[in-house]
């Protein structure tokens, strides 16, 4: 199954503004469950976002 990158912006829970997506990291799961795993990259993608207003960082898995 193809994994589609998310295009919706993360919203800062403090400032309610759109956060800036500045980094991805591939995460290899130790278990056998491959749900959400990217078939090409071989793991799930963790996205890292930062609020331009308060600097708070957050992440999500695609």
């Amino acid at each position: 199954m193809a994994v589609v990158a998310r295009t919706d912006k993360m919203i800062c829970p403090h400032c309610k503004v759109e956060m800036n997506h500045h980094c991805d990291k591939i995460v290899y799961n130790a278990g056998t469950d491959e749900a959400g795993s990217d078939p090409v990259l071989g793991g799930t993608i963790a996205e890292f976002h930062t609020c331009p207003k308060c600097g708070d960082g957050s992440s999500r898995h695609t």
Binding site: N20, H21, H22, C23, D24, K25, A46, F48, T50, C51, P52, K53, C54, G55, D56, G57, S58, S59
Partner: protein, 189 residues
Amino acid sequence: MVTGRPLFVPVILGTARMGRMSLHAARVVTGELGKLAGVETDLIDIAKLPLPTNDAGEAIKQADFSAKMNKADALVVVSPEYNHGYSGLLKHVLDSCLKEYIHKAVGIVGVSAGPFGGTRVIQNLLPVMREIGLVTIFWDVNFSSVQKVFAEDGKLLDESYIRRIDKFLKELVWMAKTLRQGREQISLD
């Protein structure tokens, strides 16, 4: 544009060993950081963090340490060199966070009783820093023969270190400002 928020640059003291001379080094660096305009700092002693040892990684994230790492724009890690490596407790602490570190600057201060000033522990820390998302700076501080650098009460006996620390902190602050701009304003997409 870099916002007017002050930079937060905590110093992590990376050892819990009794009699650690790295404490003196960490205090000097924290003191010099505190003199910089627009910079806030804090000395984080890993010996005082209540992290369990029956698990590891983000499963044992400690709220106060996590909040400080999230707020941080850069870190200073002060690490002694034990058998050419860093302390196991320092790795245990660093591994407890991840998203908090991403694209933030880090400078490393090596401490050793021998003549090499922790150069080997710094080299060993570099791949760890990279993998947890931190961006290392070019300049290090090396406290060699540390027992001769500080008096028993922690007084710095060799003032030449102040200039070395100043150069180190100037690059760290530059990198912290640059990466803040990138994190907040420059999109990956």
